[in-house]
């Protein structure tokens, strides 16, 4: 028995080792090498890029390589309504088309699946659709697809995180096969820009695959979904039947590389052509880079209702005390804009061009504090770390600057769940909390309703600043765009003079890029591969 047992054990151990080695080596043959054309990855990686660098041989159009995009996190899903995730959109923005799309650096709209649109009556927007467009599965695109898609995203039970981009939209009605009406609760001036966030899905396919829609996306876009190697990459291939001009780049590989240094080195090793979310300090180490002013605005929310802070001079003093230039230049290596006394920038409708950032002026700050009778009362400041670019350093630097100006600020940086709890706790609001707000549809109402209206989930105000709630509510449904924007300009002027926040920075998005790529980043971070070319 003992010998037989022993033999059995030896064979067992050998088998286990064999399986381990087998899987390790066996992978070689079956590995999907989405990113490289050559059969041997090593030589492919070494030689292809060299040919590029010397510029001796322009990349022939026919053999153009697939584009590799690297990002920090793997998306959870490819169902474009299930997440509000910029990483997911690296894939889905190329698989799906929307009715309209915003220009790269503004909110002016361009037609995509809709050819034109107009306001029929105050609560109806009419869209004329492009004809002859087919989904990747061969089904035709028409008004029914739009009706279905809108119904799906508005479904309360489905609970899409994108729901707040569709505020006030009730339903879509097919008027004719290629004409669709969007019905809204009240007048809704931003319906077209809201619909740019609605990728059109194929009704029959979505119903047929059920929960599998997460890994089986079917759209009308320039690229078709090919495969998803969980944990590693998503691969797309060109849609040869695309309704618009056929894209030059034959495929897209979206890679997930969590560690920032690894993403940088993958770029240096020519494994990736666009690396997202790069830190500004590593610009000099990248073969090439591009940056663009982003959509995030960092600010410190102040509890304007706390006894000592009720006096606006204290809050003004805080704004004077922060050296925004130093933060921009030292902390962000210049890759940020100073927020011009409003959580908005010139690309946004309703931006007030007359407002200037509070200058850095400690003497003025001290004078205001004295006038307000500030006696060194302590303010609790909740910072954040690891959530937004350089949030920890930003918290610490600002706390130091405030202390230097004689404001008694005590900084605490809790872990994220505690931060979230503090952020939403309006019954007993914290004195100061670092926030970063984004505004993807360029609607000032998004910021106003959430942060200045007393009903906002994370508002500064608990008691109404006289008239503020009403102005915000009324203006939300104002159809006259010029009038609407003027009200926002006035509101920003008011909120700049009596600031509920310390206005900080609007950091740039920094991308590492292959120098042989012709591509311009967009402020909404979408990467449309059909518009990209290899330089010849």
């Amino acid at each position: 028995m003992s010998i037989a047992y022993r033999k059995f054990l030896v064979i067992g151990l050998i088998l286990v080792l064999g399986v381990v080695m087998g899987t390790a080596c066996g992978q070689k043959a079956t590995a999907p090498e989405g990113g490289e054309k050559s059969s041997t990855p090593a030589t492919g990686k070494k030689e292809e890029p060299k040919a590029d660098k010397q510029g001796a041989k322009p990349v022939p159009k026919a053999s153009a390589k697939p584009l590799v995009i690297a990002m920090g996190a793997e998306p959870a899903t490819l169902d474009p309504y299930a997440d509000n995730d910029g990483n997911m959109r690296n894939a889905t923005a190329n698989i799906f088309d929307s009715l309209v799309v915003a220009e790269a650096q503004s909110f002016n709209l361009k037609p995509v699946l809709a050819t034109r649109w107009e306001n029929e009556d105050p609560t109806t927007w009419r869209f004329w659709l492009r004809q002859g467009v087919k989904f990747h599965n061969g089904e035709p695109f028409n008004a029914d697809a739009v009706v279905f898609s809108l119904k799906r995203i508005l479904n309360k039970e489905y609970n899409s995180p994108l729901l707040n981009f569709f505020d006030g939209i009730l339903e879509a009605k097919a008027v004719e096969p290629y004409v669709v009406d969007i019905i809204t609760k009240g007048p809704n001036p931003l319906v077209p820009i809201r619909l740019s966030w609605l990728p059109i899905m194929e009704p029959k396919h979505v119903q047929a695959v059920g929960a599998d829609v997460v890994e089986k996306p079917i759209g009308t876009g320039p690229y078709k979904f090919k495969q998803w190697n969980r944990g590693t990459q998503i691969v797309l291939e060109r849609n040869e039947d695309y309704w618009d001009e056929k894209p030059e780049i034959p495929g897209v590989v979206v890679k997930f590389i969590a560690e920032n240094s690894t993403r940088l080195m993958a770029l240096q090793n020519n494994e990736v052509h666009i690396a997202r979310d790069m830190s500004p300090e590593v610009k000099s180490q990248m073969p090439a880079w591009k940056d663009i002013s982003g959509m995030e605005f960092s600010a410190i929310r102040l509890n304007a209702e706390r006894r000592e802070m009720k006096d606006k001079r204290i809050r003004q003093a805080m704004n004077y005390a922060v050296n925004k230039e130093a933060l921009r230049d030292k902390l962000f290596n210049g890759s940020a804009k100073i927020t011009p006394c409003q959580q908005s920038k010139s690309a946004y409708p309703g931006f007030n061009p007359d407002l200037k950032p509070y200058p850095f002026d400690v003497a003025k700050a001290k004078q205001l504090l004295q006038e307000a009778g500030y006696k060194g009362e302590k303010f609790e400041f909740v910072g954040a770390r690891g959530r937004w670019l350089k949030d920890g350093e930003l918290s610490e630097a600002v706390a130091k600057m405030l202390n230097d100006a004689g404001i008694n600020v005590e900084l605490k940086i809790p872990e994220w769940s505690k931060w979230v709890e503090t952020y939403f706790n309006l019954k007993n609001p914290v004195d100061m909390i670092l926030t970063s707000n984004s505004n993807e549809i360029g609607d000032q109402d998004l910021i106003m309703s959430k942060f200045a209206h007393t009903a906002g989930r994370s508002s500064t105000y608990h008691d109404d600043v006289p008239g503020l709630d009403k102005i915000i509510d009324d203006n939300r449904y104002e159809l006259n765009i010029d009038k609407r924007n003027q009200v926002y300009r006035d509101l920003w002027a008011q909120l700049c003079e009596d600031p509920p926040w310390i206005f900080l920075l609007n950091p740039d998005d920094v991308y590492g890029v292959d120098p042989f790529l012709e591509w311009e980043p967009r402020q909404d971070q979408l990467i449309f591969v059909k518009d990209i070319q290899w330089k010849s």
């Binding site: 151990l13 080792l17 890679k255 969590a258």
Partner: protein, 292 residues
Amino acid sequence: MASALIVVFILTHMVGDPVDLLLPLDAHQEQADQMRIALGLDRPLWEQFKDFASRAIRGDFGNSLWQRRPALRVALESLPNTMKLVGAAFLLAVVMAVPLGVLAAVKQGSTLDKITSLLALQGVSTPPFWLGLMLMMILSAKLHWFPTSGMGGFQHLVLPAVTLAMRPMGRIAQMVRSAMLDQLGELYVTTARAKGLSETRVVMVHALKNAAIAIVTMAGWELGRLMAGYSAVVEWVFSWPGIGMMVVKAIDNWDFPLLQATVVVTALTISLVNLLVDLSYSLFDPRIRSEN
């Protein structure tokens, strides 16, 4: 088992309101309410626990909140990737450590011994995070020999496996050396030499076999540690889609079903490794073999 379930349940429900963490910061109140109902977080805590425990015992951890697929499936999908990496690293560690350790013991005090000790110490004390990035910087970014990250062919395995192997290699080499030194001082070794056996046979057959139990125990322990923790850092650096990476992502995404599933799967794997190690003792020590 019951206490383990209670601990897991309490820990994962202590993080604050998961709904606020899972939704975007600018979500509406009604979205939050809807999600709370969908996740069953509106029910009494006791009911939530009853439900969780009865399903967990049957291996059902519910859907991963982040990936919206069964958490156990997500965890099991990534397990083979970790085994592949850990297997390669472990094999590399043993193949390097055993000969080095034996030679160092035989030639105690020689330059070779000193180099081995230095290497072992270096292996044990170099943080894998740093080592991984250094290897990547030199061999990938500068020399373009290996891909930086991801999983694919054998090429992709080299850097993470070498990085991961360094620590167990160092510790096993130290262990082999000291175990061999112990054995070489024993009387039976002197006897064997006196009988005129060749030195190779004395070392490789008599002494090494007796040192094997200590070495296997140490190696088995290292294997468990590779599975349970060291691999997570290396997987993160090299974007290797293993279960350690999955744990980090589960924590990042406040995905408690996935965290529960990954922890249980990892624990079971380690138990299995330990069982194999215990069973293998009988190969080296006849006294442990079954009398039957």
